[in-house]
Structure formats: C-alpha cells, structure tokens
C-alpha cells in the first residue's frame, strides 16, 4: 500500500483552518449512535476520550492502571510550550514551528508541526479554564520559563509537576463525562489485539487484569494512545508498566511502524548505581536554566573525584570544564537534549566522568544560588550581606523553582544538591518513532487512529523539551476530535458492531493461545531475565552511538534471544487471576520483536540524526567538526515499516519529507 500523508493543499498557515472548514461533520443526534474505543488514558488518550464524549460519541476508554490519573504523563516535570508571546520576547506560531522542526533535526512533517504550533496557545487557555494551577507572577499573570533548544521563554509550568497537573486536568474532564455516562471506563484492562472487519478497525480484545477474563469490545473507530516504547531498553525513565503492546499489536495487523530507531536520550537523569536498578529517574530539563554542567578539566581531578578522595567543591573555578558553554556559546547549557547528551557522553568516554562508574557529569547550582541571592539582598535592602546570607536567600529562590526535584534527588542519591552539585547522565526517555499516521492521525488501517507518544508525527528525530505534553493535548483536545468526525460521518448508518463474529473469534483465539502458552511453558528463566538481556543489547548496540557492524550483530542477537524466550520463559500462576508476571511476559515478547525492527531501522538510516550518533556519519571539517552529520540527500524521509511476519523481513515504505516553509540546513547551536 502506498503512503498517503493526506496533507491539505494551500499555504501552511491556512491548511488547518481550510481543512476544518471543508470536512464532513456528524449530526449531533447521530453521534450518540457511534462508539469509539480509546486505548490509553494519559494526556493524549484522556483528553481525546473527554472531548469525544463531550461531542456526543459513546466512548469506551481502557487503562492498565486502576485510574487514568496514574498514566505516565503524570511524571513529566518541566512544562508545556505554547506560542503565546506573553513575554514579548519575539515568540510566534512560526517560531515555535521553526524551533520544533529544527530541534527534530528536520525529520518531522511540516504540516503537522505547524498545526501543533497553531493550537498550542489554545491548550493553555483550555487548561487554565479547567483549573490547572500554572505558576503565576506577582501581577497574577502566567509565568514562563525557557527550555533547551530555544531562545524565547514559552514554557508554562506548574512547579516541577506540570505533567501531573495537565493530566489531572484531562482526568477531571474525563470524570465529568464518566459521571454523565458518556465515557465507559475500563480500568485495569489491557488491550491485547485489534479486530479488523472488512479492512476497518472495529474493536479490540482486552484482558481484565483483575480476573484474567478476555473481553470483546466493538466500536466504529479505535484510537490508540498507549504511549512510547522506551522500556525496550529495560532501563529508561518510563514507568515500569509502559509497554509497546497496543502499538505493536496494531502494527502486526497492518499499521505501519515509523522511525522505530528514534528514541530520545535525555541528558539530565540520575545516573545508574547498580545492577539491581529497575529504572532511571529523570531530573527535569528545566534545571538547565539555572544549573551549569561541568566536569573537571584535569584527568587527575576526575580520577580523584571518582574515588571520592576530593569533593567537587574542592575544584577551583579555573579547573572546571563547563563543556556546553565552551562548545556552544550561543545556547550554552540550553542546547537541545541530543546535543547535551552526546557532549556529556563524549566527556565521560574520555575519562572525565564524576561518579564511581565514570558515567556522570555535574549539574551545579552554586552560581545561580549566588546570583539570585545577590538580587534578593538588593530587593530586601540588606546591605553588606554575608556570603552565607546571600546563599540562604538564593537557595530559597532555587527551592521555590525546583524544590521537589531537589528533594527527589536527595532521596535517591542521599546527597544534598544545594550543598554539592547534582550528578547526571543521559538515559532513554521519550520515543519519537511510533505508529505511522497521516495528517488525520489515522494509521494505515481504516478507522484506526494513533495519537500522542504512540505515533511518530511531530518530533522528528529529537524532541525539544516541553513539547511532548503539547503534542499529547493538541492531538486529544483539538486535532483528533475534528479528523475522526470526517471518517465517522460515513458510519452513521453502520449500526452497532456485533462481537459474535468470526473476526472477533479469531482475534480472541490468538490472544488466549498465547496466554495459555506462557502459563504452560514451565521454562527455566524469568521474564525479567530476558528483558534485561534485551535492554543490554539495545543500549550497547542501538543506543546513543551506533555503527553498521553493531546493528547487524544486534539483529542476530535479538532474534536468538527471542527464540530462547519462546522456549525457556517461565511464568508462574494462572491465567484466570491477577498475574503481573503474565502481563510482563506478553509485553516483553513484543519488545523482543520491536527491538529487532528498531535495529533494522537504525541500520537503514546511515546518518547521524537526533539523539543518535551514527559513527560512520560525522562532520570532518569546519566549525561543526566532530558533530553529528545529517544526510538530507539520502535520508529526508520517514521510514514506515510494514509487518510481513518476522521483524527482519519488514518492508520499508518511504514518506519523502518536503520542506517548503523551512530551509533544511545544518543545525548549529554554537
């Protein structure tokens, strides 16, 4: 099947308005005869479910948690972007569009990104109306801060818990519709397959995670909002339950999977401390507004720090290497995530890491605390303030801005970051790849939609900070509710979709056979045993730095691991009860397939792009010497993979990316 992105014609600034003016609508009285399934109720799924219900459709929403409020969107810390230009610092829809396309290393679709920038301002209005307590300044107006990769302050925030507050906003909108009976909520349910009838998505098979019961649910359209697949690395900043199952299952039923090799490596995570580690914890990127990143200039100092013989504060200013400020004077500590991550890894690989494993750099707040302290002393008319007083005043400001993050760091690392610099290291975070969708957010299967992190469309090869929340809510509140209506306008005569059909029988049988296999296999090794092995291959060979040989090896190793998994995995307990090991087994089985496609996609893309440094593709000359080298001549496309049976045999479809409104050029943050 050929890829048709269905991008509307006309000037980019008018596309979305014109599109909305010309789509087919569903009569309000007919909406109540139409059912929509939404899988996943984080920011994207939650906002979509609430809005579709409000429009009058019957929504069935599914979450693996006991409540939509626990979706991993809740953990997003820093903020949400919107081109409001409240600060008067030159922001505009175009500039947000430009920054996002550039930040994504020119691998996203222009029309989608422009639409995102366009609706971004509405999101803030909407959330404020819902009672989201964004930070305010003393005049009572909304406050903003700045994030990596941009030169304006367009990020709205609610302390370091912006994701939580936005999610609770969407959750409250859902609750209102649940109370009215317009959303039927299925908590502790997991979608295990999609059901297609005559080529259209018409329902899902779900497992009740409390009773183990397999259920059939039908609808006129299915929306997947199941988040990202970063847990393919085992260690990531994702929640433990974040999985690829819904997305992977629809891929196997015909939805193309786009750019699987694009995962974001986030520069500011708490470093790994031991083999027992179950996940990594992110420190918001907003910390880079005030924190300065450095390692010792001299290798002897680095060694002494690693052995804890000296303290970071013992190292004099002139012996510190503020490597981001040195290499990228224009953006300094606020370079985009991929650039910051690679630069940190480069220093650590050269031996300058600052913790016992040598895999950490410092994020230091001393300068900011002193700067804020001096301002505060002036404001409060304290003359000749002592250094200690200045520090105390400054610390209070930093605490107000980032207090919960500092507390979180202290709990995990057992060090006080007000007294000693934080240690950070890059970690797998958000996945930019995902299910391929057209401008309507429809996948390559009719009636099957995919929104939020689960799709591929807006972030290109790299996501700028504070843009994930923006995309999730834009898709759910403002984009999907229009585009899905255009499709559903043809469904008003369809009537209720029955579930006692051969298509449902077949999908249910596949699901139960697989569950029964796991329960009866009585193998030798636990699910985690396989997951950790997979994660290791992924990080070593498909991580921040990749080469052809490593990727080829990874494909062979993952396939072998998968074969071993299907022979030797052990799942205790039974199928007809709550069984977390069984849930994990199904998810890891999917990761073991996705991982191989990931490596295959990375192998195909012989260019350095976003967070991924392809060792064969590096700038050799000029100002950008040593930086990642993108190749627009050969790789300015979206790689959309079609499933044909084995991940290694997936067929590549290319959506050539056209840049009409932004000139493709070397990304420079110097």
């Amino acid at each position: 099947m050929a890829l048709d992105s269905k991008i509307p014609h006309g000037p980019i600034k008018d596309k979305w308005t014109d599109y909305k003016n010309h789509i087919n609508l569903v009569n309000p009285a007919n909406k109540r005869h139409i059912d929509i399934i939404v899988v996943g109720t984080g920011l994207a799924g939650g906002s979509a479910a609430a809005t579709l219900a409000e429009l009058g459709y019957n929504v069935k929403a599914f979450a693996y948690q006991d409540s939509p409020r626990r979706a991993h969107s809740i953990a997003a810390q820093g903020g949400i972007n919107a081109a409001k230009n409240y600060q008067g610092d030159g922001d505009s829809t175009y500039r947000l569009f430009y920054d996002t396309v550039k930040g994504g290393d020119y691998r996203s679709r222009e029309a989608n990104v422009y639409r995102l920038a366009e609706v971004s301002a509405n999101i803030i209005d909407q959330c404020v109306a819902q009672g989201v307590p964004f930070a305010r300044d003393y005049g009572g107006l909304l406050d903003n801060r700045s994030f990596g990769g941009v030169l304006v302050s367009r990020t709205f925030y609610a302390k370091g818990q912006t994701g939580q507050q936005l999610l609770l906003g969407a959750y409250s909108a859902m609750n209102r519709q649940i109370a009215r009976g317009k959303i039927e909520m299925f908590n502790r349910h997991e979608m295990l397959d999609v059901v297609k009838v005559d080529g259209k998505a018409r329902g899902i098979i779900a497992r009740n995670l409390i009773t183990g019961e397999i259920e059939r649910h039908s609808a006129h359209a299915v929306v997947i909002a199941s988040g990202g697949y970063g847990n393919v690395y085992f260690l990531s900043t994702n929640a433990m339950g974040s999985n690829a199952t819904a997305a992977w299952k629809i891929h196997k039923k015909g939805a193309y999977f786009a750019n699987p090799c694009y995962t974001q490596i986030h520069p500011t995570c708490i470093p790994r401390s031991g083999d027992y580690q179950s996940k990594l914890t992110l420190m918001s990127e907003s910390l880079r507004n005030d924190g300065r990143i450095w390692v010792p200039k001299n290798i002897e100092d680095a060694k002494a720090i690693q052995k804890r013989e000296i303290k970071p504060t013992d190292i004099a200013e002139e012996n510190r290497d503020y490597f981001l400020e040195r290499r990228y004077p224009a953006f300094g500590n606020l370079v985009p995530r991929d650039v910051a991550s690679r630069a940190a890894k480069e220093r650590c690989d050269a031996g300058f890491g600052v913790n016992a494993t040598g895999e950490a750099v410092f994020l230091d707040f001393a300068t900011a605390i002193t700067r804020y302290g001096k301002t505060q002393a002036k404001i409060h008319n304290i003359e000749n303030a002592s250094d200690a007083k200045i520090y105390e005043l400054g610390q209070a400001i930093v605490e107000e801005k980032y207090g919960n993050l500092f507390q979180m760091y202290e709990k995990i690392v057992d060090e006080n970051p007000y007294e000693t610099p934080m240690m950070i290291y890059p970690a797998t975070h958000y996945t930019m790849g995902g299910i391929w969708v057209d401008y309507n957010l429809m996948t390559s299967v009719d009636g099957l939609y995919c929104i939020g992190e689960a799709n591929f469309s807006e972030h290109g090869a790299n996501r700028l900070g504070a843009s994930a929340l923006m995309q999730g809510l834009a898709d759910g509140y403002f984009v999907l509710p229009y585009t899905i209506g255009d499709y559903l306008s043809n469904e008003i005569r369809t009537g209720k979709i029955p579930t006692n059909t051969p298509e449902f029988d077949e999908a249910e049988k596949e699901v139960t056979d697989r569950i029964n296999f796991f329960i009866n296999n009585n193998g030798e090794y636990s699910v985690d045993y396989y997951h950790k092995k997979l994660g290791n291959i992924m990080w070593e060979k498909c991580g921040m730095s990749r080469n052809e040989q490593g990727l080829k090896e990874a494909m062979v190793e993952i396939k072998a691991l998968r074969e071993d998994f299907w022979k030797n995995v052990k799942v205790p307990g039974s199928a007809n009860e709550m069984n977390p090991e069984l849930e994990k087994a199904g998810r890891v089985a999917d990761f073991l397939e996705l991982g191989e496609l990931f490596a295959k996609d990375a192998l195909d893309r012989n260019e350095s792009c976003g967070g991924h440094f392809r060792e064969e593709s590096v700038e050799l000359e000029g100002e950008q010497k040593g930086e990642a080298k993108r190749n627009d001549t050969d790789y300015a496309y979206v790689a959309a993979w079609e499933y044909t049976g084995e991940p290694a045999d997936a067929v590549l479809h290319k959506e050539i990316l056209e840049f009409k409104d932004i000139e493709l050029k070397q990304r420079s943050y110097k």
């Binding site: 404020v128 964004f134 109370a179 433990m240 580690q277």
Partner: protein, 246 residues
Amino acid sequence: MNLTLKIWRQKDSKSKGQMVDYKVTDISEHMSFLEMMDVLNEQLVNTGEEPVAFDHDCREGICGMCSMYINGEAHGPDRGVTTCQLHMRMFKDGDTITIEPFRAAAFPVIKDLVVDRTSFERIQQAGGYISVNTSGNTQDANSIPISKHAADEAMDAATCIGCGACVATCKNSSAMLFVGAKVSQYALLPQGQIEAADRVRNMVAQMDLEGFGNCTNTGACEIECPKGISLENIARMNRELMKANL
C-alpha cells in the same frame, strides 16, 4: 543486608489471607524498597512460587500507585515519600520488616498487597472537575489574573497523588485529606467558584457513601502524606461545606 520479610499473602478478594515469612539476602542500601521487592520476586519466580503482587509504576514518587503498609506505616518509616522513594538505607542488617496492604473497608484487597482504590475515582466523578467544554474556545488564559499566593496554594493542594496513605493511616479510615485537597484546589481558583457549593456537597456525600470514616483531627494523615498535603485543606473543605449548606 539480610532481611526477614513478613508479607500479607492473599490469593484474591474472596480468599482469606495470612502473613508469610521470606528471607532476602545481599540487599544493597542503595536499592529502593521496590527494588528489594523485585529481588524477592525474582527469587520466588526462580523457585517456582508465585511472586508477591504489589502495585507500582512510575517509581518516581508521582503516580501514587505503590500502596504498601510497612512496619505499621503507610509508605514506611521515611517522611514525605512514597514506597518507591523509600530506600533500604532506612533499614539495618538483620531487620524484620512487616509488609501489608493498605487497610480500609473502602479499599478492599484484590490480591496480596494490591487494593482496590476505585472509591477514590467515584468521589472525583461526583464533582472533582470544573464544567468547562474541552473545545479550546475558552477565553484567553491571562484574562482572569490569579494572585501568586492563591495559585501557589491551589498548586499545593493539587499536588495530591491519590495514593490513599491518608486513609490507610487514619484510625477512622477517613478520606478527608484526599477530598479536602481537591475541594481546596478549586475553591482557591476563580474558575472553580461557580460550582463550589455543589462540588463540595456531592464529593462529601460520595465519600460518606463509599464508607470512609470521619476526621477527628488526629493529624496522622498529614504526617504520612508523601506530598505534605496540609490539614488546612480539611478545614477549608469543612468551611466550604458549611457555606454550601447555609
């Protein structure tokens, strides 16, 4: 560290449960409590036993899922943290640790340490929202200034993660800190004023219907709350309720 764990095992909501002893060895003080539980579960899977079911997800202290009652305290001995943020450095080699599910009539046990907290959902559905259409055609966000103080206070209340520690630790199994937090968030913001009376009446009525007890001002909830939600929110909820009923 080597530890003895006394853990509540219960097959499902209908079965009778019991405490079972387990030993874990080589526990690092840098592990989180849940990572220690992972070690135990790996051990159980390897010996063919059923691992202990417990709720957890983000492991960053924000999803509110990890609902363990450890040595008689919700989320264990450390202050202001969830179980995932509790680290083994809080314990000593040779310790015996008792681990139970959150106990409250309105939180029935589903399995082992997993409890059903959907009563919280129903309370939120009874009025924990502002009735605004999600069309995006709302007025400009800066058109109603909100004082920094009010916004900050609303934010403090909104920080509640819905974990249920307040209920689990209360001798009356009261949910008033949880409900008070939501009522307060909206009571402090101009957007929440229009429906304030209905909201507090409906949420409080649902809370009673679910079987949560009343507040007797012991204050254990505030102490055990991982997010430091203050008792002031209960007072505000009571004031709002009184105002609504006048």
